[in-house]
Subunit: 504 residues, 2 copies
């Protein structure tokens, strides 16, 4: 092997050692070189690049979602889309381009998004008579059309969703999955006859999100209302699901907005009600994006790489046959195991590449976060057994071949549960009450996480907190008790309980 | 009912009568007002708008894909994606934006696409230092990245695909699904060690497309190679599947290109082969878009609206209970039928809306192309029977309830077959041989369809034909016999057999 002949085209300084198995110790090449608790940010990027979730794109600020990352997104789509459809939502596709005049119609919305809009000004060689925004979100372009579709109460509710790309012209440094100029998401948009129907819709979607994220991504959540300062531009109110990352920063995982009648009035979405009166409609919108993949990496990953919860993993188990070159029966048995597990609806890979050693393969599949490794060698074959190795705890278990399916089922279930419980414990322990400004600051400097306070709920105090500490109000619990006494931060009269944190 | 109170906001002159069931005869309102054989183009647009497949968007030149149209596209995605995955393809997602310098790198490709590129010049308020193309297709942005991923023969073949939106700045009049500035598609991109592997890949994809379109969309195809003049900009050669529309114009349904080493040389995609030598890779790309939905409408639709082949229909059967207000057992039985058919993996709707009459429902579901209607009323219930009505032939059949599932299966199978056979007969009859220029022109004026000639295969003759007649060369059959004698059009020496037609 001639190392010098290898074309070493490194375009990201992090990937210093990505050379495929060329006789050099694999762990030096492909492994994660930074520890999660030493340099969290570097660790995060390394895991994404080396596990093959995504890559930096040639286009500045953008990313390439690679097969593993997109495979996770496909599972997100499949699971969420089924939930949406069960509740009567249908998928549509609206244009990428929004004429400036349409985007401008709802003033607050436009103001909220205009600093981060990418503009198309030319088609071919021609200058356009009106510039076109690349959708940062589709309220305006959709509602302009809804106004033509809706005439009577019979047309309501209108329950739509689209899976698409959106663009927000970020100027801060790119962070894969969390801050890129283009990302993928779903955006649901519904139209209702009454505020009550819209309220119910908002909560129904938030609950679907919460259940989906907790059950499948194994990421525990808190939820509540956004403050006036943090709500969606143009909404009556915004509800949110919030997760906590291991570095103590919050990550917004999805939002569901009641848009009131603001957009309906601007875009003239009226309907004739059963009482024959013309009324403005009530609307909601709700979205969840590829940033949840970033959360998956951060919450569950470890020093060996990615750790995927079985319910969202594109590959749930990998079979590594040992010494199968000398003993072809091992390979035959491995194939049978694969077939059997696939028939049981598990997604399974059989790694029968001859040019890599088992040890190399163990490392690679661990890096890629596959929840379960199944080893089988000549000795195992003789003893009618297989070895199961969990990705999350590294625990090894030798099981009788006859019990394989049940053992796989149990172990995958146990991994899913363990990942959630670990994260849940962390989340619960990361909520701290602050009794005054000093405590608030101290928590943010030391322990981090969510800070729960009795709050005056004034824009002034919210801005002061942000300025002083960098933390923002994350949410106000739905069941928020009315509080008496003083605001824990500014000592004005407290109105409610709120959670603050630094965030992504 | 006060007609004047209805908000009549018509933005397309074609929808003159779209008022929901307000006491006026439904057929006057929702039905198709133009006959397919009288004004094909008007008929096409009316079917799409009134069946609810798509709508014109506020953004000029763009469309909104509505629930029914998107439902068909979801089925296209599901079926094709499964075929791709079976053959080792994985899905990726590359950026929407291509820096001008990257798009320009392969000169022939850039020249081919530059007249129809939309350009982003501003992000927020800032002018960009380099303008960004909205992808018209992704060869350049993907291959620039591939060059960083591929090092050795072990990395090959690289089999990628992405489902995404693309933009081509059409200046001709918008035609829903066929000519819009933005459309959805899949684009596959693969990298291989040898020309032979790339050749095989090209043909494998074309065969997958052909089988998919013929088996599911029930649209018969011809296939072959594109001429030099019609091949993809930057390809070594292009293969194509071509369908014939009822107006005698050809429609390209999908293409699969061998890109040779052109892009590899420009983007420096090299690998170290087993012989330790540095070699340029061979590449392919292949795509199929939402325009196939346009073909579906044209090929199978009739004067009552859309006709969908069962295998691609989002709703395969609709159950219409008759007089169920008076006899609730009818509704119970209808629900049982729905459950039974859904358990058998059919997609079924039960139309139990009380505000519409059965006749109105019949018309609406016919308009929407649902392959099978299932009627059940009090008399049927008593006689343990149901009525099945085929959308394609309007044939009615009374079947015993006990045989329902088998009858549904048979009838859907028969509809699928009938639609294909009808279209196949039309296609076969639409191929005419021309023996000279005059015959060529006469066929185009009268019978239309494909014209088969012995051809000199010169750019000069191809351009002359286009200029004289508006027809282009559609394909050269793979099994093309070497021909002797003269070109049927220009009388130079003939080289091969080619098919010409006017096209979309």
């Amino acid at each position: 092997m001639n190392l010098k002949k290898l074309k070493l085209k490194y375009y990201n300084p992090l990937i210093k050692h990505v050379i495929k198995n060329e006789g050099v110790n694999m762990s030096e090449q492909l492994g994660i070189t930074v520890k999660k608790n030493q340099d969290f940010s570097e660790w995060y990027t390394e895991v994404i690049l080396k596990a093959g979730l995504a890559d930096y794109a040639t286009t500045k600020g953008c990313m390439v979602i690679k097969a593993l990352g997109y495979g996770i997104w496909e599972n997100v789509q499949k699971l969420l889309d089924a939930e949406f459809k069960k509740t009567g939502v249908k998928n549509y596709y609206f244009p990428l381009f929004i004429p400036e005049s349409i985007l401008k119609k709802e003033a607050e919305h436009f103001e909220g998004f205009t600093p981060e809009v990418a503009w198309v000004t030319h088609g071919g060689d021609e200058k356009l008579s009106e510039k076109l925004a690349i959708r940062p979100t589709s309220e305006t372009i959709m509602y302009d059309t809804f106004s033509k579709w809706i005439r009577s109460w019979r047309d309501l509710p209108l329950l739509t969703n689209q899976w698409c790309n959106v663009v927000r012209w970020e100027t801060k440094a790119t962070k894969l999955f969390l801050r890129t100029r283009e990302f993928l998401w779903q955006e649901g948009h519904t139209v209702h006859a009454t505020k009550e129907d819209a309220d119910k819709q908002v909560m129904q979607r938030l609950e679907i999100y919460k259940k989906f994220v907790e059950d499948n991504l194994a990421i525990p959540l808190l939820n509540g209302m956004k403050s006036e300062g943090e709500k969606f531009a143009g909404a009556l109110y915004t509800t949110t699901i919030e997760a906590l990352m291991p570095d103590g920063k919050a990550l917004q995982m999805g939002t569901s907005h009641n848009l009131g009648q603001y957009f309906a009035k601007v875009f003239d979405i009226k309907f004739i009600d059963k009482d024959e009166k013309d009324k403005y409609a009530w609307q909601t919108s709700w979205g969840l994006s590829t940033r949840v993949i970033g959360a998956l990496v951060m919450v569950h990953g470890d020093d060996k790489g990615l750790v995927l919860p079985p319910k969202i993993a594109p590959t749930q188990a990998v079979i590594i046959p040992i010494n199968f070159h000398e003993n072809r029966e091992v390979l035959e048995e491995a194939k049978k195991i694969k077939k059997k597990l696939e028939d049981g609806s598990y997604s399974v890979e059989l790694d029968d590449r001859e040019e890599y050693s088992p040890g190399w393969k163990f490392n690679e599949w661990e890096l890629k976060g596959v929840p379960l490794r199944i080893e089988i060698g000549p000795k195992d074959l003789k003893n009618h057994q297989v070895i199961l190795v969990r990705r999350d705890t590294s625990e090894k278990k030798c099981v009788h071949a006859i019990n394989l399916e049940e053992s796989v089922k149990d172990m995958l279930g146990s991994i899913q549960e363990n990942l959630f419980n670990k994260a849940k414990k962390f989340l619960v322990n990361s909520i701290t009450e602050a009794k005054n400004k000093e405590e608030f600051k101290k928590i943010l400097e030391e322990k981090k996480g969510f800070i729960k306070i009795n709050w005056c709920y004034t824009r002034e105090c919210e801005e002061k907190i942000k300025e002083d500490t960098g933390a923002t109000s994350r949410f106000i619990p739905f069941e928020s008790e009315k509080t008496k006494g003083k605001c824990d931060y500014c000592e004005k009269d407290a109105k409610l309980v709120a959670y603050f944190a630094k965030s992504y």
